[in-house]
């Protein structure tokens, strides 16, 4: 047994070594005091302030951008970006959704791919060649990237990388960390971030204000509900359940919609659970949320055929599966920027009395 532990210890040190070496430079704050601070209210991934007429945007710990409209001096440690930008490349449908809402498809010159993409205008542009496909993360086609001639590229950094080749070309990479936000409104608020880059700040602010008020109003109503059903989420694949944690975006939406997610710790945003663990947590949950891409009509029979143990859950037996098919619904194109619609779908299921009669869900419906 000692040998086994030794292996784990070695592995652990290796991991630590890697994570330490990746820390970036700290921001440099030698510039004059900020004139005004305009930090987002819900989003935690970026911060904004104006200083001597320069818009300073800090993304995470390591990225600092100075948005300028004229040729002015900028503080050390910041990367200059001339706004409004004319050309850009998006890496995720979350980013693309920001451009769609702001009516700025003209700015988008490149995408990673068009799988599960519904927006007709975008598809047409890809077909015409006005938008190019640059390939998957980790395997970008640098020539296509250069051909799109972007001012900046919005990236969504994960472990697979492949950004070095693009960096070499001198194009500014701007991380769009919306996907890391744990609060649905925080994720939606990244539209303001994109708005600043493309010179549509006012539109973005107005749009977000509408989302915010509708979301909070509905949340208020749901919090007053007398019953709070419990929900489980996801599907088991090959004996493992990749479950979203209690700290996740989705868990937050469940809470805001007046329900409780079965994993109640606030620590993790996602973990792999064995069947038995998930089952012991969720066997008696009232509802079961499933989001997948299923060709054709999803049903309880399909759910059982995919994994015979699915029928053991109470939500299955009582036909309380909340379902959204990404093949039929533009889920990732709309839900991140309009979480109020998502919230309303859930409220309509958990507390039907709180929404108008005859409500037509946008994404999720109760599987018959």
């Amino acid at each position: 047994m000692k040998k086994i532990y030794a292996f784990f210890v070695i592995g652990l040190f290796l991991c630590l070594g890697f994570s330490c070496s990746q820390k970036g430079k700290a921001p440099v704050n030698s510039f004059a005091e900020a004139d005004s601070v305009m930090n987002p209210k819900y989003a935690t991934g970026y911060q904004v302030r104006d200083s001597n007429g320069v818009r300073l945007v800090d993304v995470g710990k390591d990225y600092h951008f100075a948005l300028v409209t004229a040729d002015v001096d900028i503080p050390d440690g910041y990367t200059k970006v001339n706004v409004p930008i004319k050309n850009t490349i998006c890496m995720t449908s979350l980013q693309l959704s920001n451009f769609t809402i702001l009516d700025a498809h003209d700015v988008v010159k490149g995408l990673t791919g068009t799988k599960n993409l519904f927006n007709k205008d975008i598809l047409q542009r890809v077909k015409d060649g006005r938008i190019v496909k640059i390939g998957m993360e980790g395997n970008f086609d640098t020539e296509m990237v250069l051909a799109a001639n972007p001012d900046v590229i919005f990236i969504s950094p994960s472990k697979r990388g492949g950004y070095d080749a693009i960096k070499e070309t001198g194009i500014t990479l701007v991380p769009h960390l919306g996907y890391q936000e744990l609060d649905p409104l925080g994720q939606a608020e990244w539209i303001k971030f994109v708005g600043m880059f493309i010179g549509k700040e006012k539109e973005a602010n107005e749009f977000f204000a509408g989302i915010e008020s509708r979301y909070n109003e509905l949340k208020e109503k749901a919090s007053a509900a007398t019953t709070r059903p419990t929900v489980l989420s996801g599907e088991m694949h090959y004996g493992n359940w990749h479950a979203v944690g209690g700290k996740n975006y989705l868990a937050q939406i469940f809470r805001d919609a007046g329900a409780d997610y079965v994993i109640n710790d606030e620590e993790t945003s996602g973990e792999n659970l064995e069947f038995e663990k998930m089952y012991s947590l969720a066997a008696n949950a009232d509802y079961w949320r499933i989001l997948n891409s299923f060709p054709g009509e999803f049903s309880y029979e399909v759910l059982k055929a995919s994994e015979p143990r699915n029928e053991l859950f109470k939500a299955y037996k009582e036909k309380k599966v909340i379902y959204c098919n990404m093949k039929q619904t533009p889920y990732y194109e709309i839900s991140p920027v309009e979480p109020d619609l998502l919230l309303k779908d859930f409220v309509a299921i958990f507390h039907p009395e709180l929404v108008e009669a005859g409500y037509q869900p946008t994404f999720y419906y109760l599987l018959k």
Binding site: G239, L273, S280
Partner: protein
């Protein structure tokens, strides 16, 4: 020795039933196992529908892979041979890759619906892929004489399958690639219900059948000329052993994904423990060692603490490699002076 192994397997099975990411007290587990239905329904389902199928799957899969590895090592008289050496596991991976990665492209809806329903469709694809490669190998085995030639052709087929998988992966969207990668991690826990029963029954038929081949295998060890002089039809014997080994791997891979290492290493473990190369002993010994090692790995992968079950493939080598290296080292360290 065999008795000790059987006892070890029984003990390990019980350990596998007792421990998991959900805490169920010992006495409740016992009551459930003795058919007491007054226990919590959740616990009953965990024991009967999760832990027991997993333990049984591990036992038969471990035994099957180990026996298959032994057969390959004997036929090719090569200690580094294993179930994957003839490209048979690559063949099944290719089958699965076709279902998972190409489901959206070829045949459209029909095939990908199958892909969804399927864990079953994947099993079929894996078996078809593995058997196709095996038929090819058998056909080649009839044409070429040398074992080494056959071995090299097998390895080349494996590379070829891998290359095609690589191209498919490259052309596929990320989610599909991920599904395929997850399949490739191997797992004893994906089989349950009727499928598990079918799997166990199949293996319970195939393993004894494999044991019928011990005599020709013993003769093959003597070398082709000797064996032929003793009246063995070498070509036929070679083919039977390859088919038996291939079918075992195909079925295990179909249900558990490609499980590495056990097939290659366990025969060495069995030889070191039993100090014999007589297949009449070695065959059952290898099967039992394989089952025991698979149970140990399954238990370690699911030890409380790493909730969420580590991939079996990482554990088999991580745990198995040092153990087997240590056993071989202790048995053979003094031989250098002899």
């Amino acid at each position: 020795m065999i008795v000790i192994l059987v006892v070890a397997i029984v003990v390990l099975t019980i350990v596998n039933l007792l421990l998991g990411s959900v805490d169920i007290p010992l006495k409740n587990v016992c009551r459930i196992l003795f058919g007491d239905t007054s226990e919590s329904e959740i616990w009953q389902n965990i024991i009967w529908k999760s832990r027991l199928p997993q333990a049984l799957t591990a036992i038969v899969a471990g035994a099957g892979l180990a026996v298959s590895g032994l057969q390959m090592q004997t036929v090719f008289r090569n200690p580094l041979a294993g179930p994957s050496v003839l490209g048979i596991s690559n063949g099944s991976a290719l089958g699965v890759a076709f279902v998972v990665l190409l489901s959206g492209r070829i045949g459209g809806v029909a095939l990908s619906r199958l892909g969804y329903l399927g864990d079953a469709a994947m099993s079929v694809a894996a078996i078809v892929g593995a058997l196709a490669v095996m038929m090819l190998i058998v056909w080649i085995a009839q044409k070429v004489k040398g074992n080494v030639t056959l071995l090299i052709i097998g390895v080349m087929i494996g590379y070829l399958a891998n290359a095609i998988i690589g191209v498919l992966k490259f052309l596929s969207p990320e989610e599909d690639v991920k599904a395929f990668v997850v399949w490739g991690l191997g797992s004893f826990s994906r089989v349950s219900g009727d499928e598990m029963i079918l799997f166990v029954v199949l293996m319970c038929i195939l393993l004894p059948l494999a044991c019928l081949l011990v005599k020709p295998m013993n003769l093959l060890l003597l070398g082709d000329r000797y064996a032929a002089n003793l009246g063995l039809n070498i070509r036929r014997a070679r083919m039977l052993v390859i088919v038996s080994s291939g079918v075992l791997v195909a079925i295990v891979t179909a249900y558990c994904g490609p499980i590495m290492f056990i097939g290659l290493a366990v025969p060495h473990l069995a030889r070191a423990i039993f100090r014999t190369s007589d297949h009449r002993i070695l065959m059952p010994a290898t099967a039992l060692c394989g089952a025991a090692l698979a149970l140990v790995c399954n238990f370690i992968a699911r030890m409380p603490g790493f909730e969420g079950a580590l991939p079996v493939n990482s554990v088999t080598a991580l745990v198995g490699a040092p153990v087997i290296a240590a056993v071989l080292f202790r048995r053979h360290r003094d031989e250098i002076g002899e």
